[in-house]
Every structure is written in C-alpha cells, then in structure tokens.
Amino acid sequence: MQQQFDASKLGMWLFLATEILLFGVLFVGFGLSQGRWPEEFKQAHHHLDRVLGAFNTVVLLFSSFTMVMAVNSASRSKRKATINYLIVTILCAIAFLVVKYFEYSHKIHEGLLPGQYFTYLASTDPMAKGNSVFFGFYFMMTGLHGFHIFAGVVVLCLLLKETIKGKYNAAYYTPVDLVGLYWHIVDLIWIYLFPLLYLIG
C-alpha cells in the first residue's frame, strides 16, 4: 500500500511538472512578446481590473488553505471536517469562475477579444497589433487556467461524493492528497499570472 501511495504521488508530481511546462511556454511567449511591444502591453493591461484580480487571488489563496485543511482532516479520519473544507474549497473555486465570467464579458463587450475580433482600436492604430497580442495571451493564459479551475471543481465534487460515502480515512486518503497537490499548483500558477498580467510596469 505504501509503495502504491508513493508511486501515485510521484506520478502526480510528474504530471504537475508537465502542467508547469504547459504554462511555462505561455509565460516565455508572453515575455518575448512584451519585449517586442512594451508600450502596447502597458497600455493594454490598463483594461484589466486590478481589484477583481486581487480579489480572485485572495479567494484562491484561501481555497488553498481550506484544501490543506481538507487533506489534514482526511489524514486524521475526520470525515465531517473534510466534507466541510471541501465544500468551502469548491465554493471558492466557483466564486473565482464567476468573477472571471464578469471580467470576460466586460472585455468582450469592449471589443477586446484578440485577432480578428479586436475592435477596441481601429486596425490602423499603430498600437492595435501589440494590444491584440496582449489580449491573445491574456485569454489563452487565463482561459487555460480557468479550464484547470473548472476541471478542479469537477474533481473536487467527485472527491466530495466519495468522502460523504466514507471512502477515506487515515489509512487511505491518497486521492484527497493528490487532488490537494493539483489544487496548489493551479493556485500557484495564478499567483504568477496575476502580477504578470494585471500589474505590469
């Protein structure tokens, strides 16, 4: 059993390494494009709402904490507490997505979708290209991240169901632990995304 547990954990870490690389590419691409369009990126980031971004950061940090507590309770066979912490985590994640939804629809409204949909600046405006590239990265990165949060919500719900059934206890709580790891990485990525996108310059 211990061997199995170790193996799963190793597997999870490897998977998370691939996740970090996945985002890593976008970070590198963002950095290089910022080098090409420094002024444009600065201008574009003013469209992002720092307050909402900061709020979401806090929400995710808090959810990371509740996730730690969920794992901790599971490892001590405290089923009730685990259930509560998981529910709070899920609610935080949903709150995050709701805020994101409002941010997105605001941007779509302003014509900030990248590429052919970018209408905020006339295509003849010299700043338009760089702005559009910025939003290309913005939507790619936050979209991919949002997808990870969404996937996290689904997995957390499954976990909740199994916890309610009483599947986990001090002797076996591997899945809780693994989901915990995943959740921390997703949060961590946001911790990097937030200053990168919202707080340039």
């Binding site: 061997q3 170790d6 193996a7 799963s8 190793l10 597997g11 490897l14 998977f15 390494a17 691939t18 996740e19 690389l21 996945l22 890593g24 590419v25 976008l26 691409g29 290089l32 494009s33 090409r36 369009w37 979708l113 990248p114 590429g115 052919q116 949909y117 290209k129 760089g130 559009s132 590239v133 939003f135 290309g136 990265f137 939507f139 790619m140 991919l144």
Partner: protein
C-alpha cells in the same frame, strides 16, 4: 547454479509444462479493449505501429515514385499539391504515429515490467487510458488525412501553416492528443522504474534497456507539453486569428520555430534512446559477454536526455535567430554527440572477444551500428555552423535524419521485434528469410539514402517536386533503393506473421539472455511471474552459463 530466480513456493507448479499465457488468459474482443495488462497493451500498440508504418511507408514510396523524373507537367499523375501532402503525411505518420510509440509504447510496455520483475506497470489503468488516447489521436490524424490532407510539412511552420487550407487544425490537435498519450506513458514508466523494481534490484542492476527508456520518459514528460501548447496556439491562431506567430498580426514566426524545436529536438532523442536501449540488450546477449562500461552507457543515456534539451536552435541557423544563440547551440550540439560516441565504443568493446552468434536480431544490431554511425557522424556536418548554412534544408538533412531515425531507431526496433518475438508470441520464426530480409533492408537502405547525401551536398533542396536534370540519376538510384527496402520489410513482416500459424514452440530463453524477462515462460503468464522474483545475478553476467530454459528448481 541456476541462481537467477528463486521462488521457493511457486517452484513446484512451474515445472508442470506451460501454463495458460496472457494471450489466452481471457477471450473476446472486449477483454482486449479493456485490458490493463501491460503485455496486451504492448501488443496492441505493436500492431497499431506496424499498420501505421505500412501507411507511412506507402506515402514514402509515392514520394519516391514522383521523384523518378525531374520536371513534371501539370498532367503528371501526382501533382505538386498532392506531392506536398504526401511528404507531409509521410513525415507526420512516421514521427507521431510510428517512431515515437514504436519502442517505448509497444516493446517497452511489453518488456519493461518483465525486466524489472514487476507484475505490471505502476498505473495499469492509466496505461489503458494512454492507449485509448493514442487511438483517439490516431483517428483524428486519419480523419484529417481523409478530409483532404495537410500540406505544411511535419514541422507546421507558421505563417504557412496558419494560412494554408486543409484540416491543419485537426492534424495539429491530433499531434497534441498523441502527445498526451506519450506523456502518460512516460509518467507511468518513471513511476514503475522508481517503485516496482524487484527486491534486490538496485539502480545499477537494471538492464540498460530500462535506463534508456527511463531517460526517454524524462524527455517525454518534460518536452511534450511544450509542443502540445504550441500546436494549440497554432490552432487558435487559425481559428480566431490571434497573432502570436503571425507577423502580419504582430507575432513572431521564429518564436514558433523555437517552441517547435524545443520539443522536436528532444523528441529525436525520444526516438533514438529506445533504439539504443534495444541494442544494449541484443549485443551482450548475442556476444554472450558482459556489457562493457555498464555505468558509462547508463549515464550517457541520462546525459543525452539532459543535454538534448539545450540544442534545439541547431535547426534554425539560417532562420534569423541571433548569432550568439547560433554559436551556443552549435557548441552544445557537439557536446551531445559525445555520449552517443561513448555508447558506440562500448558496444564494440562488448563484442570484442565475445562469442558472437549472428542470429537475426544480431544482424539487425550490427546494421544499426553501421547505419547509426553514418547518421550520427553526418550530424556533425550539420552541427557545424558554416557547413550547415550550405546543407540546411537540402537532401543532406533528409539523408541524415533517415540514417538516424530509420537506420537507427527503426533498425533497432526491428531487431527488438525479432529478439522478443518468441517471448511475445511464443513462436520461433524462420531464420533464413528473416536474415535475407535484414540484408535486403541493409542494402536497400544504403542505396536509398547514400545517394541523397550526394544530392544534398550538391545543393538539392528538400521538399522539391521539380528538380534540376543533373540530379536525376541520383533520384533514380534512391527510388530503386526504396523498392529494395520495401521488399525487405514486407519479407520480414510476412515471415514473422507466418510463424504465428505454427503451434507455440519457443523455449523460454532461446537466446540465453540474462535479464528477467527470459526467466518466465514464453509467452508469459498473465501476472508475469508466479512469485515475486528476486534478483541474484546482475544483468549481462555470463560468468556462469545460462541455460536455455527456465532456471528454477
């Protein structure tokens, strides 16, 4: 003696002849489709790879037939657009559907747990998932082919790929999906090697095959996500015109090349390391001699894997990347050649004063040594800056990579297939035709690709439908070579298939191998070993004789 494996409890029943093996353990299609047995999954991958190899090969033969003549009118039976699709699909099929899964997913899945003395891989269900993801990716690729094919070259360079017609997005997503299959296989193998080694098996008691596959898996896990997300970016660029790579929209096409090669260079080591893995098994076994420089070979696999991450820019010397970058990449490219050299010399030293049996697998292994050396050495021309400027994107490069990919990996793969065939299917094939096939392949291969080195250094660019008349003799030679090699390959396949019609007749250890997979019956039982095997003899230790059958008292 007989000290490889002691299984005090299960010993008794092992002697009662063969037991029901993994192939016959369960019946029905569903039992295959839902299997989590690494051996069955390995087998299914194997057949998928063989089928894809034939598809990729047919595209190659069509490419060669087109090039028999140099200046095609509009009415030629294969026109320029079709030609471009043929070589693109040839490249994509061979790379993503054949060579990357060939050794790790097909043979590795089958052999790796056996070699470690494990019951299965660490995550059997994930293994099944990887297989089905592979099938999904495969279906997407085939759909893209049927929907009118793709003409971007296997490298998908932007902005051509973001503007051309055809189901490029579907093909890119297919490659993305196949990448995920490859990542999961990699994770699985790493965890298996870390956690499921037989008791008594330290890191340096592992067969070299395992070391090499382990290094491969590291690259798969660390490099594949990069190309994955790059291809997604390409797809999004095609769909919504976000301009990450498109210069007219403010992007940078060279960035795409960096991302692509950041994966695809390490990917060439994903391709060759498993080939080297097989050679490191075949050579000691057929020389009946211990591996020379075991540790050097093991470490060189890891070194290749790690340094291999730092050389991608050597594909871009004339592309407009900075000169400093070109200098650094050129230097590192040379460094990565050294561990390969070390391996070659260690294999030779293993053969030296050995007791060499030229059975079919060994014929393939020796072919590998010669072909890979040519391929690798011509890589030095390409790594060197001023000569690469001349040779870049000519047939010299085409010949180089066929020598390493086909002459290296595919040759090794075929050697491995002949080596483990008795274990996988429990039958011995006919030696005569198998050897003839191997020789045909060797001759055909050199006729096919040596002529391409000549054309390439003479300035014949690649991906050319029309060419100058002076190149025609060499193109004809090359095409004739492709027929010889095709004959060899079909003969090899036919011979192997013919053996399946016989009753099972393979001994457990036909080649007197020392690694654990030879210590169970052929084909193995569903759970590989009756009892947890315990390692007593280091791999490739021929100090005490190895008997042909199981060494269990």
């Amino acid at each position: 003696m007989a000290d490889i494996l002691t299984s005090p409890h299960a010993g008794a029943d092992v002697h009662h002849g063969k037991e029901i093996d993994y192939i016959e353990a369960k019946k029905g299609i569903w039992s295959w489709m839902s299997t989590v047995d690494h051996k069955r999954l390995g087998l299914m991958y194997f057949w998928a790879v063989v089928a894809n190899f034939i598809v990729g090969g047919i595209f190659a033969l069509l490419v060669r037939i087109t090039l028999l003549t140099g200046n095609h009118g509009d009415n030629y039976f294969i026109n320029a657009e079709t030609y471009n699709r043929f070589f693109t699909l040839h490249g994509i099929v061979m790379v993503f559907l054949v060579i990357i899964p060939s050794v790790p997913a097909a043979l590795g899945n089958f052999v790796l747990p056996l070699m470690l003395g494990a019951k299965d891989v660490a995550f059997p269900r994930m293994n099944l998932a990887s297989f089905w993801i592979y099938i999904v990716g495969w279906t997407m690729a085939i759909t893209a082919i049927c929907l009118g094919m793709v003409d971007t070259g296997w490298t998908f360079y932007t902005p051509y790929s973001s503007t051309t017609n055809g189901p490029v997005s579907l093909m890119a997503l297919a490659a993305f999906t196949l990448g995920f299959s490859s990542i999961f296989t990699g994770i699985n193998f790493i965890a298996t090697v870390h956690k499921l080694r037989a008791p008594g098996m330290g890191w340096f008691d592992m067969p070299l095959f395992v070391w090499s596959i382990y290094s491969t898996s590291l690259i798969q896990v660390l490099a594949t996500p990069v190309v994955g997300i790059t291809l997604v970016l390409l797809t999004i660029e095609r769909a919504w015109g976000i301009g990450v790579f498109d210069a007219s929209k403010g992007g940078d096409p060279v960035l795409f090349q960096h991302f692509f090669w950041f994966y695809s260079h390490p990917a060439v080591y994903i391709m060759i390391l498993p080939g080297m893995a097989i050679i490191s098994e075949i050579i000691p076994t057929f020389s009946a001699k211990t591996m020379f420089g075991y540790k050097a070979v093991a470490y060189s696999s890891v070194a290749i894997a790690l340094i291999g991450f730092l050389v991608w820019g050597h594909h871009m010397f004339p592309s407009g990347q900075s000169q400093l970058a070109s200098l650094v990449f050129s230097f590192l490219t040379f460094l990565v050649a050294i561990p390969s050299g070390i391996k070659v010399f260690n294999w030779l030293a293993t053969m030296w004063r050995g007791n060499i049996a030229m059975d079919t697998p060994m014929v393939w292994a020796v072919s590998f040594l010669l072909l890979f050396t040519i391929g690798g050495l011509t890589g030095i021309f390409l790594g060197s800056l001023s000569t690469d400027i001349h040779l870049h994107d000519t047939y010299f490069v085409v010949a180089h990579f066929h020598y390493v990919m086909m002459g290296g990996t595919i040759t090794a793969f075929l050697g491995g297939v002949h080596y483990w065939w008795p274990k996988m299917f429990g039958r011995m094939y006919n030696e005569g035709p198998a050897k003839i096939a191997a020789y045909l392949y060797f001759i055909g291969f050199n006729v096919l690709f040596l002529s391409q080195f000549v054309m390439g250094s003479n300035g014949m660019p690649r991906r050319y439908y029309n060419y100058l008349p002076e190149f025609q003799p060499w193109h004809i030679a090359s095409t004739v070579g492709s027929w010889i090699i095709a004959a060899g390959l079909f003969l090899a396949l036919g011979n192997l298939l013919a053996s399946l019609r016989k009753p099972k007749d393979a001994p457990d250890n036909p080649w007197k191998g020392t690694t654990l997979e030879w210590q169970t019956q052929s084909p193995p039982i569903e759970h590989n070993f009756h009892d947890q095997p315990v390692l007593h003899r280091a791999p490739y230790d021929y100090r005490t004789p190895v008997s042909v059958d199981r060494e269990i008292h």
